[in-house]
Structures are given as C-alpha cells and as structure tokens.
Point group: C2
Chain length 441, copies 2
Amino acid sequence: MSRETPHKIIHLSVRDVRFPTSLEHHGSDAMHPDPDYSAAYVVLDTDSGLRGFGLTFTLGRGTEIVVCAVQALAGLVVGKTLQEIVSDFRRFYRLLTSDGQMRWLGPEKGVIQLASAAVLNAVWDLWARAEGKPLWKLLVDMDPERIVSCVDFRYITDVLTEEEALQMLVEARRGQRQREEQMLSEGYPAYTTSCAWLGYSDQQLRERCTEALEEGWTRFKVKVGADLEDDLRRCRLIRRTIGDHNTLMIDANQRWDVGEAITWVSRLAEVKPLWIEEPTSPDDVLGHAAISKALAPLGIGVATGEQCPNRVVFKQLLQASAVQFVQIDSCRLGSVNENLAVLLMAHKFKVPVCPHAGGVGLCELVQHLILFDYICVSADLSDRMCEYVDHLHEHFANPVVIKNARYMPPRDPGYSCEMLESSVRRHQYPGGDSVGISMKK
Amino acid sequence: MSRETPHKIIHLSVRDVRFPTSLEHHGSDAMHPDPDYSAAYVVLDTDSGLRGFGLTFTLGRGTEIVVCAVQALAGLVVGKTLQEIVSDFRRFYRLLTSDGQMRWLGPEKGVIQLASAAVLNAVWDLWARAEGKPLWKLLVDMDPERIVSCVDFRYITDVLTEEEALQMLVEARRGQRQREEQMLSEGYPAYTTSCAWLGYSDQQLRERCTEALEEGWTRFKVKVGADLEDDLRRCRLIRRTIGDHNTLMIDANQRWDVGEAITWVSRLAEVKPLWIEEPTSPDDVLGHAAISKALAPLGIGVATGEQCPNRVVFKQLLQASAVQFVQIDSCRLGSVNENLAVLLMAHKFKVPVCPHAGGVGLCELVQHLILFDYICVSADLSDRMCEYVDHLHEHFANPVVIKNARYMPPRDPGYSCEMLESSVRRHQYPGGDSVGISMKK
C-alpha cells in the first residue's frame, strides 16, 4: 500500500443472500434439518476505487438480523481510511467489538460478532487487495510484530501474552520459505463432508463416497446424532465403502448431553472415528473435557469450534484439555484478528487446528488462515486437515481450487470471498433488498 | 385461565425505546462509559382483549438489532394460543431458542437470546394476567411438575435431571406458606447501586450514600476498574460514609484479565468488599475459578452472571466453584424458563442467588423471580439480596415498591413490565418507529 493512497472507505453496502440448499438436504444435520446456506454480504467502496468484499455465513432465516447489525456497525467503518485502520488494527478491532453501548448485545458473541466478522473480513480483503496479494500471503509476509499488533490479548494473557506470541512467531520463521513453496506445489490437506449429510439416502451415501474415493479423497466426515441404530448402519456402510486405511470423522452438531454423548459415541467406536465433532453445547467447556476424558481410552478425540464465538471460549477449551482438535471458523470468530489469537493459543498447547468450512464461502475464506497457520505458526501437518464442502463455489469470483484432495493456495489478491454480482442479484432476499450506508457529507 | 378463553395471540408489536441516561452519567461503569438505558418493548394482543407486555434491556445503540430479531421470532408466536404455549412450555421454549435456521445466530446467546427473552417475558406476563396473579404468585401456586415442565434440561442433565429438580421443589414445599406471608409483610432484602456510578463526583458519592443510609439502606455497590488509585479513594470514602457494619460490594464490569483482577482486588481488600462482581470476561468460567480461589483467603467472593447468556454457562460456573454469588438476569437469560433452570442448579450447589437489576425494567421483572426463589426453592435469606437501582421506574404502570430497603411483593397481575404508553411514545427511537406483525389472514 503506497503512502499516497490511504483508501478512504466511503460506502458500505450489505445484502442478504440466500441459497435454497434445504431443497436437496445439502447441509442437513441432527440440529439443523433444513439449512438454506446464506450470507450477510458486505462490500466496502473506497475513494481510490478499490473495493473490499466480506461476508458472514448464516443458515437462512435471521440473516436480516445480521444485516441490521452490520448496518449498526457501519458508522464505525465508513469515513476511516484503510491506512488508519491497519496502522492500529487492534484498536479498530476493539472499536467494533467493544463499543460501550453495543457490547451489551454480545459481548463478542452471537449476531453482533457475526456482523463484526463480515465487516472485518471485508477490511482484510481490502488490505490484501491494496497490497496486491492473496490474504494468506499478506499474512506470511508480515513482520511478527505486525501480526501480534492485530490481536486483542484482552482476557487471554493468563495463557498467552503478546511477548510469548511474538516469540513463537519468530521461532516459526525457520523453514518458512520451504513451507510456502511446499504449499504452492502440493496444497494443504483437506477432508470432505459433502458425502454424508444426514438427509442423504444409503444409495446417495454409497455413490458419493465412491465418487470421492475416485477423486482422491482419503478423509470423510459423517453426520450422526439423530438415531443411534441409523448412525451405526450409515457409519458401517461408509466405513465399508472407504476401507480401513482411510480416515472417518463423525459430527453430532451438538445433539447430546454429556452422558449421552459418551454412551452414543462409545457405541460408534467400532467404525474407528478419528474424532467426534460437536458432541454437546458449544458453550460447555467442562462438558467437552468430561467427554474427552471418557473417550480417550477408545482412541477417539473431541473436536469443536464452529459455534465457539471468541478467543475466551477457545482459551478454556485448551486449558481444560477439552478438545484434541481445534475448529476455527472464519466468520463465527471476529475475522482474521480473532482467528490469529486462536491459532497462536492452539500452537502453544500443541493442539492441531482443523478449520470448519461448511456453508457458503467458508472454504474460500478459511483456506487462507490454515495456510498461514502451517507456514508461520504450527509448521506441522500431522493430524491436520481443512474441511471441504463441494457446494456453491460457482457463485464466487475466485473459487477454491482443490487438487488431489488438497486446497491449492489462492493466487488472486484478496480474501477470496467476492461473490459474482449476478449470483448476489439472483439470490438476494427478499428481491432487491440492498441497503447502503454512505459517508455523511 | 378458563378453558373457554384460550387467548389466541393475534398481534405482536415491538418498539425501540431509549432513555438518555448517559447525559447524567447514570449507569456509567468501567466498560460502559455512556449507556442510554433502553429496551426492545413487546406487546402481545390476543383475541380475548387480554394483552401481554415484555421487554429486554439494552444500552442504546443496537436496540434496533434486537427489535429486528424480535420480528424474526414473531412468526413463531403469532397465531398460537396462550393455552397451547403453556400446556407444553418447554417445547415452545425450544421452538424459539432452537429454530433449525436461527439457532446458528446464537445458539442461545447474544441478540437472538435477548429477543427470545423479550418475547417470552411478554408470554409469561400474559399468562400471569390470564390467571389474575402477579407472576411470582403464579409460580408459587404452580405444581412442581408444572414448574419443571417449563425448563429445558438439555445440556444440564450432567448436574441436574428433571427428577432431581422435581424432588428439590417438593422438599422445599415445607414452610412455603409462612415464607410467602413473610415476604408479603417484610419484603425481600435489596442493595443499592444508585449511589456510586463511576461517573459520579466525590460529592455526589457522599451525598447519595448519606441519603441512602437515611432511607434505611445497609448494602451498597460501588463501580471500580478504571483506575486503581481512584478506586481506592472512592471505596475508602464510601466505606467511611457507610461505616464498618454495613455491606460493600465492588463491580468491575469485566475490566480485567485474570491476573490483573487478582492483583487489583487484593489492593481493594482493605475496604472489605463482600464480593467482586464481573472481574473479567463473562465467558471465562476457568478465569473466574482462578480468581475465586485466589481471593478466598481475603474473604472476598466472586459474583457474575448479568452477561452470562444461558444455563450452560451457569452450570459450569457452579461446577467449577467459580462464583460464590449467582447473578441471574431476567432479560439476558431466556425469560422465566431459563431463570428457573439456573435457580434450581444454584440451589443444588448451595450458592446464593443475588439478581442483577440495573437498567430499565429489570428491577420490575427480577423481583418476581427472587421471591419465587425464596418461597419455593432456596428457603434461605442468608447472603442473599436483590440489586436495586433508582432510575426510570416512573415509566412503568406498576413500578417496584421499596420499603425499608426491601422489595415489597407486587400485587398487580402480570410481570410488572408494562410501560406507560405516554413514556413509550415519548422515548421511542427514532420517532414513531412502531413495527407490528399480525396474523396472516
């Protein structure tokens, strides 16, 4: 970004975009039987003509509430320059997440946090475009000092201070260039969730798994939790189809109480799942800890995070040894800033990060974060993989590229979540509902 | 409620009502320097002509987001009868809090939970009016079976099952009638927060405390957390003014990290506070546990809850011995239903409940819950008191009655949160912003 172009943000628009995925049971699970993958989609216009695109993922009804929250935050963004935002990004992050009146609505959780993520994702996209780099590369090229200056350490200094974080990033510089080259040539390992939604028939399950195997997939996630006998039948079918050498994960989407989770998953142990994902409430740190402890002897880990709203919840999941796999989300957490905090804490606790990427746009976004994690933080691929869901990529200007079941690093500038204007127009809800907030004259 | 009048809900209106409290620094604290006490205010109309009034409390900006969320929930309420709602209230509670698409926006936290509370508060108000009783009396007269049938035990059965809850309520029936009579004659003990907001001058502090002492107050809460030396000066001033025999509590409104909280409060130990309230993030169960453990030798307890969104967080605070005082909130938690869950868990863990009641309308609402707690659950007044703030009561049709620093049980039917229509009209934001959702024809 040259000094001459501060990129003043002169307009923020937010639109409610909904795709009718529920019609074909894509995305169906034990707690969300009929999701319509949707987004609150934000576009920032600057006086230089450069634009930033961001979104947060939703499930359909209620997206208008997130749109309303983005509008409430717009006044904190419009009128600022990109230069002043990124020169003290932590301060700007707190401005959005800790407004003296609006923080009551969270704080740092629920609708207001999803809205912050949509806005901040657009700011990060704008920054990456201003630098002419894909977001992961913007992060990889940053000084460690600059990276930690984007993180809000409030409430996490009991496990990670700014100094420790800086030290970790400096230490991880060794081999960074080789890892970047490795990613550019090989890509980051992925797993697929597209083969085994809860609403699929046995025939669909078998066909999709077989197709995926032919495409080179080796890691598969199955939705469970609605009915134990049905789960057993479906999981056995999938295990038989994919074979013993491939990896199977199961996902209950918060269906159980603590005791129920332990009993149910113990019954499913015969299909040898690597992890049970979201066994219970995402708020229940101690519950996840109890489940982890009970399932450890069976060789099954616990994964959660897609509905954990902030660094404080992740901090505790790590402190309590409640998870063996950390699942970050590019929209649930407050954008890149909050994800950086979680990546750094996970590294300190030596717990692998396996991002959540169902939904619409999440694959496009989170690939950048996990590439940064490998190149600059964890330097490790063992037990690590990023979720992939093969839905709705056709609506993006720079859709993800998967080769041999791996995410190939994006090459285009930005954060990859610009949607095709034709798609936005077609799926806007209700028709023609664009809302814009301009600078006051 | 007679069988003949099912009270079909035919209309829900929600309005954004804001009071300019920031102008005089009422309500100011270390994290919320300029709150404008506000509410999303809900009115339910029924075909019988009976109306239900409910609200959730907010701090000004962003209230429109909660209004938007109430509108999103309205379709789940309008068209139902009170009779069918209360005949399976747990089911209705889940319908609101676990909608397959909207739960993504929480779940059970933030804006969507505040909106659920506003709607459900209005349903409870309607129910109490239909029975011709104040809400506390509706609860007191209910069978234990009926009470537990209002509670969603999902995610808490590892500490409290429906059967245990029922057993506790049956056991607490002994002496219930005497406790009810005692409350009607003596009232429930209160403490005041109105004397020591952070924005007040020393002279204001001294005058307000002196006045309060003359009115019979013996328990005082002071806002702290912005500046240690300033806190010491203010707390010493207040301790000198109220004397050693009275009770002092301090409230940091989430200002500190864990280590900082311990250091800071240790310095304030000389003014002998009963509790430190909200020392850190409301999400940090393990942090509160660490603070509790460190402060126990100083005789200082930890209190939190006004920003804890659901029963799962309270469950963990109790499991981890993280709080010595549980602070329920009538609007942050999902109305009476979710508060019942917390009251029952607190009783099981023998931790006293001291409700949060700052803001607008919270005193009016929460007095009902704490009366029920004493009469039907805890049967104990030791270390128990309900917050009182002397602001904005004049806007309510049935404002709280305080005598000798005690809440006198309301006598009028309902949940006491009907606002004067003239007040609503005057403080509606922006002018004339009423939004109504009617039944589809």
